[in-house]
């Protein structure tokens, strides 16, 4: 606590203009930045998976299962940053038991449980059940046990049963799309409904969150698909990569348009908060908003994808060899991830850097250690990849694993 007080004393020295005395401490820090970022990846990855299932975009089929497992791995981590930032994590179950039904945040548990239990787990189960049954028949030891438990005793491999799996999976995906929208739109609503805060209070925030979620989810799957192919020494399906690049471009265009709409709308209305917000953007948020989010995270990837991906025609504006296209897609996706993380940062931290008196700015100092420190956030961003690694070991998402059912799965 002493170091915390010391930090606040330093912050007090660095404030500019007048802020309410209680605003020296910035309450939603790095962990609350991580939370919408992770949730967005879940929603985005799931929506990508639904492209193949519901909208019959055959090209992205190689990433279908990977998207589902990625969504699950990140969803399992999603509540952890929230839990770690609570003053009393041990009381968090009260949100489930006695929620205040008027509170946007109280719905988190229910939205989360719905998405986890009804959408993701069920869809993965239906999708993998047949394979798990076949795998378990040819395996021994722990893997056999895991796959047997996974099947929950449903070992029917008849054509009728497999067909049912497929149609049930499709039905759940249809439910899953609005659920994914709900999950992340809801996170946006938590911020967008705070009327006390002019930076957050916007009806566009949930929509912007949704499209930025799609952008970050597709970019993540693109990165994972390329990296896993590289490590598995498998050829990247360029039809799939091109399609992912195109979808990334479309989603990014919509996301950027919405953000610009929000920006221009604020500027044109020029309400009383405009002065302090402009001051904040040109000073405290310049690097994270103008450089990272807009320039590097949006404009550069848009140009790259617009030129080199077949987003407008079957051919790109500039036809680059496959190897170069892969590199461009990969770089664009990495830039996009940095940009979307900056977006979350700018929303969460930006909303607290200016005073509600509209007369001053404070600073945010990231602490290294402690439950709300930098290390915890880094750990929570790495953890989903560890979970994904384990999931992939037991539920290999590769097309050849599915086909080669009777033999040892190639993971």
């Amino acid at each position: 606590m002493e170091s915390h007080i010391q930090t606040l004393m330093e912050v007090l020295q660095q404030t500019k203009g007048y802020i309410y005395p209680n605003e020296v401490e910035l309450h939603w820090g790095l962990l609350v930045v991580v939370y919408p970022y992770v949730t967005g990846l879940v929603a985005g990855a799931f929506i990508l998976a639904s492209l193949e299932r519901v909208f019959n975009v055959r090209e992205v089929q190689p990433t279908y299962r990977l998207s589902l497992l990625t969504a699950l791995a990140f969803l399992l981590v999603a509540p952890l940053p929230l839990l770690a930032h609570l003053g009393h994590p041990e009381r968090s179950f009260e949100i489930f038991l006695t929620p205040n039904l008027n509170s946007a945040m109280a719905m988190f548990g229910f939205v989360y449980a719905w998405y986890l239990a009804v959408v993701l787990l069920l869809e993965i189960w239906f999708d993998y059940r047949k394979d798990a049954v076949i795998w378990s028949r040819h395996e021994t030891g722990f893997r056999r046990l895991v796959h047997r438990v996974f099947t929950l005793g449903a070992n029917d491999l008849s054509e009728h049963a497999v067909r049912f799996d497929r149609s049930a999976g499709k039905f759940i995906t249809v439910i899953g799309i609005p659920s994914a929208f709900l999950l992340h739109g809801y996170v946006g609503f938590i911020f967008g409904s705070v009327k006390a805060n002019p930076w957050w209070s916007s009806v566009l925030i949930p929509v912007v969150f949704l499209f930025s979620a799609m952008v970050s989810g597709i970019a993540l799957i693109l990165i994972l698909y390329m990296l896993t192919s590289l490590f598995r020494r498998m050829e990247i399906d360029m039809r799939c990569a091109d399609k992912l690049g195109s979808f990334l471009f479309y989603a990014l265009i919509i996301d950027f348009s919405l953000e610009m709409l929000d920006f221009i709308h604020r500027l044109y209305e020029a309400e009383e908060s405009i002065g302090i917000l402009s001051q904040m953007i040109s000073s405290r948020l310049f690097i994270s908003l103008v450089v990272l989010q807009i320039l590097l995270g949006t404009v550069v990837p848009l140009v790259l994808l617009g030129i080199f991906s077949p987003a407008f025609h079957t051919r790109a504006f500039v036809h680059a060899p496959a190897e170069l296209r892969r590199l461009i897609y990969f770089c664009a996706a990495i830039l996009i991830e940095v940009g979307i993380f900056s977006t979350r940062w700018n929303v969460v931290i930006g909303g607290q850097i200016f005073s509600k008196s509209l007369r001053g700015l404070t600073v945010y100092k990231v602490e290294l250690l402690g439950l709300e420190g930098l290390l915890t956030s880094v750990f929570l961003l790495i953890l989903p990849f560890v979970i994904l690694y384990v999931l992939v070991k037991f539920l290999p998402p590769w097309p050849e694993a599915e086909a080669a059912a009777p033999s040892e799965p190639n993971s």
Binding site: E25, W28, I95, T98, S103, M105, M107, K195
Partner: protein
């Protein structure tokens, strides 16, 4: 001196049958926790109607909460014993509706109210934890406004350094005990609640420390207590109100810039103040309906 826990908890019991009664809810929960877990497990397992178990708990909690007040179910002797134990038993919140008025022209920025508040409520002494504070506005001829609040104004203010001053004044700030409190709306567990007599309180044994209420407060009136790790704010010195006393800041103000009383009474210092002054509230466009009423407030104050 009273600690935060001892202050709000008995009050919430005293207020009895209010809709948001965390204490009663908790008592109810401790009795029915196993059933709650079964409901939760059933819900998470089958993904059923989300609000069903919650709504059930809420309704039952209200029933459980109203039982002690009605006295219809408890034996008379038991009620008497509990009344003897509880010094607040004679207080009837339904008979009150509190508000505070502030005459900006009377405030001299001495900081006695801030000191009284910190002492009375055991507020941490560091310069970023305040239940009440004073701001000084210095408006210069060029239209520039300089606002300061060194250590919340607890030790008064240094001499004005700005040149070409048009006007200057002090504004005491505190929780506005809004009639439509955004903090109460957003609290995910109902730990922040509005009592029947209109005061907004925090149940420190129930608050999970999510800080959504701090974000939702337009007035910067809340903070997270560094020791209890729960949300903190002005309570109008509720522990004093139930004993018929006024808040510490009101009592200590040497110029009677703060007037406290019944909002609905026809004859009270507050009613008289409202008759004699034009009244404004802070950030009225947000429709929070504050119950801290300002007279002679300058348009520069936000």
């Amino acid at each position: 001196m009273k600690g935060p826990e001892s202050e709000t908890m008995p009050d919430s019991r005293a207020t009895g049958g209010g809709a948001n009664q965390p204490v009663d809810r908790r008592e109810f929960l401790s009795r029915s926790l196993p059933a709650g877990w079964v409901l939760l497990a059933a819900f998470t397992g089958c993904g059923g109607e989300p609000s069903a178990p919650a709504g059930g708990s809420e309704a039952s909690a209200r029933e459980a909460g109203s039982a002690p007040d009605s006295g219809s179910q408890a034996p008379a002797s038991e009620v008497e014993t509990s009344a003897a134990r509880d010094p607040l038993a004679g207080y009837d919140p339904s008979q009150h509706k509190y508000a505070m008025a502030i005459d900006v022209d009377r405030c001299i920025g001495c900081g006695r109210c801030v000191e009284a508040c910190k002492t009375e409520n055991d507020v941490p002494r560091e310069p970023f934890y305040f239940r009440t504070w004073i701001e000084r506005y210095v408006i210069q001829r060029n239209g520039n406004t300089v606002v300061t609040s060194p250590n919340g104004g607890i030790s008064g203010f240094p001499p004005v350094e700005e040149a070409e001053i048009l006007r200057t004044f002090f504004v005491p700030k505190l929780c506005n005990h809004c009639d439509h409190p955004p903090c109460v709306q957003v609290c995910p567990v109902g730990a922040t609640f509005k009592t029947e007599d209109g005061v907004v309180l925090v149940d420190h044994d129930y608050c999970i420390g999510c800080r959504y209420c701090i974000q939702a407060c337009p007035y910067g009136a809340r903070f997270l207590h560094p020791v209890t790790r729960t949300a903190e704010k002005c309570t109008f010195c509720y522990h004093r109100l139930v004993k018929g006393l006024v808040p510490a800041c009101v009592e200590m103000c040497p110029t009677q810039a703060r007037i406290f009383g019944e909002l609905n009474a026809r004859s009270s210092p507050l009613a008289r103040f409202q008759r004699m002054h034009k009244i404004q509230t802070l950030k009225s466009h947000l429709n929070t309906e504050p119950k801290v009423l300002y007279a002679n407030l300058d348009g520069e104050v936000s």
